[in-house]
Amino acid sequence: MLRASGIGKRFGERRVLRGVDLDLARGGFLVVTGPNGSGKTTLLRICAGLARPTEGELEVEVGRGEVGYLGHDPLVYRELTALENLDLYGRLYRVPERRERVGMLLERFGLWEARHDRVGSYSRGMTQRLALCRVLLHDPALLVLDEPYTALDAEGAVLLDAQLEELRAERALLVSTHDPERVERFATAHLGLAAA
């Protein structure tokens, strides 16, 4: 699904990643760990297609529409409601049964009651839940999740566990975290990045 060899990234003078190799097949669950500033986010952005490595080869076997990327920013519009945001993404990703799926995800992540509120008024955990809805909306084949448990309460974390459990058989997952124990039972491979 995803194969990278010798990936490196530099920002101007500063080299952030060097010689990263990874190989992720369907059913794979790769956990990326590393201290703050070690380049996890940079690597995940490259794998999701948002950035370009300055060195090395990257091969992604799925199309752009089959990747789901959860970043540090929720990538939703604060001035729109949850419904409007998901509806926009649903249209762009040409999700079949868009409205039903949006409703289902909002309910699953406990945002149904708040669906007509401006996202700007959401609490941080609610925003993260919405970002998860956004990522799952088009049922991607490759999921790239950057610290997905951030800001979730215990119930939200259990919800996410269930999602990951459900997804991992048929999808490929690339997940960064500072708490590898949390995802230990899903992991099929580990990648530790060293401090810059």
């Binding site: 752009r64 990538l75 939703v76 519009y77 729109l80 926009l88 762009l92």
Partner: protein, 212 residues
Amino acid sequence: MTYARDVVALARKDLLLELRARDTLPAMLLFVVSTFVVFHFAVGSSPSRLAANGLLWVAIVFTALLGLGRAFVPEREQRTLDGLVLAPVDRSTIWVAKSIAALAFLGAAEVVALPVYGLFFHRLSGSAVAGVVLADVGICAVGAFLGAIAVATRARDLLMPLLFLPLAIPIVVGGVGASVAASPGRYLGFLVLYDALFSVVCWATFEFVVTE
């Protein structure tokens, strides 16, 4: 067809955002109206037809500029451009949608401004109005594109006029010509050419603006 549907979805979002935040249109309206007030006050009610026409074009270009600089601000503030870029749509739809939204704002401002202009100065001929419409298309197409460039830089708002004004000069030449020349046809043709040419360039290169 899916292209058109993507554009509609994106443009709808842009219009919704403006409806919620009301950032752009008030500033544009304020500027056009104060431009006319300033001029009315400075030169009285009967400036030469030429001067008044020139003023109209100055007002249009700068009003547009004010709005276009903010076109991509929501995307920047919430970094949602990443979200749009990831979606499996032709990236140029993002530009088309922004241009349409910008055109809507500029059109709205002009729906107010042109009658006010008629009131303060003199009535506009049909070909002048045609010139305005054609110029609007070019201004918004190029402007939305440059807005995407400017918003990716550190100098942003300051850079936008620098990037935009040199490219707006041909539009001003064509627009002024269309509104004062005896045979405006040539000028309107020129504006059509400008619109077509730059739209194609923008359309073909927008992808590179929003991706690494």
